[in-house]
């Protein structure tokens, strides 16, 4: 090895020498050529922006910080960390491609979720169902207006489910090439729920409706809480086996929490296990933030469709509450309808906050938790439909 050669070979492996790729003579479009040459550099700036969103703006930092950092790492030139032999590529293959990570996280979500408010007032489940309208509305727009394929449209629609692991699970099966954009959109909009929802909620309700007070929820016995996850799983078995991986993981976690005899396992699912998997899920989702897949006009479309999905979901929940009020004398405050989008517990808190603006004694939080957790089940069911029909 010669000193000059050595320095030169090292220089050739530096980022300075590799950031700007040589122009590819096969690419004729100027914009594409620019993307080809400067893509990684731009993606690093995008990832730094996402990091800033996560840390400074606290947009779901538990996910966005690892995702953004994973994106940063995977856009480093020379060392192909997102490739098949790279750190992130290996984790992606083992955890996301095979679907393990989202399911394990969903177990943890189950072990952290209290379905009590839903059991106490079952009919609020319909609000969580109506909010899935956002999924199918966005799917329609993606398919008809923006020219996405059917599987891609399904993956984009699922953003409206406002549920991270569900989105990642479905996208990794239907359209893995969009995983980066969809995950970023899903987690960002979940963090933006307090900004997106209130105007829609106010637009669709009258001041009187917003002041409706609801009767206090009855107490739920331990036995009901134990039986509930089993019942949901069995229903899912009977009606929609395709949703069973997601619903199964959720109900397993919840059963472990509620049955009271396996506290060790339930604690682990809620802490060590979900944390470990979150770190690797985030990093490996970030590995899909490559320039050629993220720096496209499709990503802009996905960001737009994502906000449409959230808005339609919010509207769906609120309108369903108004419809239910027409047929029932036990009035529901339609503000809790918006909580049906899931985004647990953010959306329920938004319902509570907007409610308090109009009646400072009207605490809607527990009432909103019903549709909120029903929304998680609803999204999982909708995911099952998409997995069955969009492949």
């Amino acid at each position: 090895m010669n000193l000059l050669e050595g320095f030169k070979s090292l220089w050739n492996s530096t980022g300075i020498a590799n950031f700007v790729l040589a122009p590819d003579p096969n690419i004729t479009s100027v914009a594409e050529q620019f993307m080809h040459q400067y893509g990684q550099m731009i993606m690093i700036l995008v990832c730094l922006f996402l990091l800033w969103l996560g840390i400074k703006k606290q947009f779901e930092p538990l996910l966005l910080v690892p995702i953004a950092f994973g994106g940063l790492l995977s856009n480093i030139p020379v060392c192909d960390m997102a490739g098949p032999h790279g750190f992130l590529g290996i984790i992606y293959e083992a955890g996301i491609h095979k679907g393990l990570f989202p399911l394990i996280i969903f177990m943890g979500v189950g072990a952290m979720t209290d379905f009590g408010p839903l059991i106490a007032n079952p009919k609020t489940a319909l609000l969580g169902g109506a909010a899935q309208f956002g999924i199918f509305g966005a799917l329609l727009m993606a398919l008809c207006l923006f020219g996405f394929t059917l599987p891609q449209s399904g993956a984009i629609g699922i953003i409206g489910g406002a549920d991270g692991p569900t989105s990642i699970f479905v996208t990794s099966k239907l359209a893995p090439e969009l995983l980066g954009a969809i995950a970023v959109a899903a987690y960002s909009y979940m963090a933006l729920v307090p900004v997106i929802q209130p105007p829609i909620m106010k637009m669709l309700t009258t001041v009187e409706e917003r002041k409706i007070q609801m009767t206090q929820l009855r107490e739920v016995s331990k036995r009901e809480k134990i039986v509930f996850p089993i019942v949901v799983l069995l229903l899912c078995v009977v009606l929609l086996p395709d949703a069973c991986p997601l619903v199964g993981a959720l109900t397993f976690g919840n059963l472990c929490k509620e049955c009271g005899v396996v506290e060790r396992l339930s604690d682990t699912m809620q802490n060590a296990l979900i944390n470990i998997v979150t770190i690797f899920l985030g990093l490996s989702v970030g590995s899909k933030l490559s320039a050629e897949q993220f720096l496209t006009v499709q990503t802009l479309f996905i960001l737009f469709l994502g906000i449409m999905a959230f808005s339609l979901a919010t509207a769906g929940g609120v309108i369903m509450a108004k419809i239910m009020n027409m047929f029932s004398k036990d009035k529901i405050n339609p503000l809790i309808g918006s909580a049906g989008v899931s985004a647990v517990p953010m959306a329920a808190r938004v319902s509570n906050k907007v409610g308090l603006e109009y009646n400072s004694q009207n605490y809607l939080l527990m009432h909103a938790m019903g549709p909120n957790v029903a929304g998680v089940i609803g999204s999982a069911v909708a995911a099952g439909v998409l997995l069955a029909l969009c492949k």
Binding site: L126, K222, L239
Partner: protein, 87 residues
Amino acid sequence: MNELLRGLCETFTSNIADALNLMIIGMGTVLIFLCVMICVMLLMSKSVMILNKYFPEAVPEAAQKTVKKLTDDADVAVAVLSAILKK
């Protein structure tokens, strides 16, 4: 040109139809699922209530544990207190 337009138009129509069908099927499935769930839950709650009447639940362990932990902390405080008072 006419051909192309007609082709586009047909694709669009077929896409709209697909999407609307999916929407109906999907929302239908979700709402049917949740409706059945509501019915089953009401049934379940009824049966569990009857069950609870005849076989009351045992006092949950978790509550006892919290109490115990509190007591432990308290024990420390009491020990310290008595130690101080003795000095």
